[in-house]
Amino acid sequence: MTITDPKISSNGQSDLSKSADLPEDADQWTAKIRHVAVEALPPQRLLPDRQPAYVASWIYVFGVTTVAALGVVIATGLVLSIMGPNWWHVSSTGLFVNSLHMWSVEVFFFAMVIHLWGKFFMAAWRGRRRATWITGVISFLVSVGAAFTGYLSQQNFDSQWISTQAKDGINSTGAGAIFNVTNFGQMIMWHIVLLPLVVVALVGIHVLMVRLRGVVPPFAAKGETPGADMAGADSDGATSGAEVPA
């Protein structure tokens, strides 16, 4: 028996469609998960080349602006972690990266709020897109927590003021027993480990949900049949299966 790499076709060029020729054990959990995943999000749907015509508006740019800002927040945050507080408080390069971190957070929230206003006024939760909206809401709330613990990690008078004000509010809820805003070690761990993990995971699910459902079609104009221009979709553009509206 000759063993050939099925991804390499005879002319030596890689051919993705042939990867299906790899041996498969249909009863294994790996195969089952793969089938469910590929059926829900085939590569062309996961990273499409085109979007419906109505997506040609600046209002659709703010989701990806938020993702880009989050990328800068995380990259600069990693640099701050590598170099440490003596660097970011004292050296001018450190202060610069610290400022990049802070201002990219400003851009992140700025873009996120315009994004959510846009989605609110187009009622983008229509057509089985509830989960997209809800993961957005939770991302927003968790991001506020991430920013809050960031302000507590500044190690200056500002952060002392914020923590001593916040402790009374949080103690009045009872949560102060486990979440102590004057505990610097705990706050910086929430800021650089726990909350970033949650935000990134939520954004991942959020964007996958958008790919899964397709971009919501706009409301029909007066006198128009809703969704008439969308093959295989109901009036809210809820597609049931593989086809993506062109």
Partner: protein
């Protein structure tokens, strides 16, 4: 680097003097710094700009363009 920071700092410092306690607006129980109000106004402006400014697309790529 230090000198660049000094120059940039002086330039912006002469534009907006931040070396004083913040200014706040008071609308009944609503209290907000002017900087936060400015950010909210900017978000509203950018929101309407995003809706009104036409978005250039690639021409002749398909029937839906």
């Amino acid at each position: 680097m230090q000198s660049i920071a000094l120059v940039v700092g002086t330039l912006f410092g002469s534009l907006i003097n931040l070396n004083h306690p913040g200014n706040y607006i008071h609308w009944g129980f609503i209290q907000m710094s002017y900087s936060n109000l400015l950010v909210i106004i900017l978000m509203v402006i950018v929101f309407f700009a995003a809706i009104l400014i036409p978005f250039k697309t690639h021409k002749n790529k398909g029937a839906d363009r």
